[in-house]
Symmetry: C2
Subunit: 187 residues, 2 copies
Amino acid sequence: MEAIDEQAFVEKTLATRRAFEGRAVVVDVLDIAMPDGRRTTREVMRHRGAVCILCQLPDGRYLLVHQYRKAVERTLLEVVAGCMEPGEKPEEAALRETREESGYEVDRLTYLGSTLPSPGYCDEVHYHFHALLKPMPLAQQLDTDENLKPVLLAAEEIDRAIDDGTLDDGKSVILWSLWQRRLARQG
Amino acid sequence: MEAIDEQAFVEKTLATRRAFEGRAVVVDVLDIAMPDGRRTTREVMRHRGAVCILCQLPDGRYLLVHQYRKAVERTLLEVVAGCMEPGEKPEEAALRETREESGYEVDRLTYLGSTLPSPGYCDEVHYHFHALLKPMPLAQQLDTDENLKPVLLAAEEIDRAIDDGTLDDGKSVILWSLWQRRLARQG
């Protein structure tokens, strides 16, 4: 595959303005020059980044969550996930979010890679992990405005949910794919 | 798998305020009541939706694009994709975006499903398609501020790019997975 010729595409930032600063959503408007010199603007949402963790119990079942998402007015089936806190490394966030959302401690954490959910307008990075959980649950420690419930699923149920559209959360479909690819490579 | 008990999770909207309205990014702030009555706010980015098209030539090679993404200051390898226009159906957008970005007409379009890229803060839906292209290219008709170039890849090159992290655009990883799952189901 031909290498990406970065310099041919780079857009130079001429000015930046903080257009909106909410609790979770932050938007900058950039004046930019395209490679051929034409001027335009790019609206960029700033995001600290998030971790996505495919949790698995020693008996093989996977722990996902049902979580209400106001943005889409639906309760979704999703992997455990959450935004990183300031100064936090992805692995630290993964351990913390797993403990908080699932009520289990992590026995072994495997990093699977990172993806960009919406690079057209947002700088967010998703860091993907598999977590083998310790068998004894503690208790959930949800953020005060989180609205979710854990659910245990066999691999076949997750596959079926992707194929019939029940599982349509993007980061979850990606993480399941990365995990299946990892298992296939290991034999 | 136990069914999702939607009513247990629904958050009631008490008030909505348009907090930011840009060219591409629109943000509402909602005052909501959680199921247990606690009040909080949800910041929601409004998005018209986008189509993602895995383009394939009759000779088997896939057509993706190198596109500069200011939000992440990188040139990414991505599937052909674009936002839907007002009133446009996903299939119409898929045909239009393919013609504009690839320079080829579509011979056969296959719908593969939809996903939510960032349901934590955005209502965007991604509609995924496979497109078998007609063998003779016309010409690209890019939007005046699009900055991209088509590239032809074999399936093995796409797999390698996902596994080594070169292909880390979320919608592209999802669409490749949905296509592989479709091929596996067909035998």
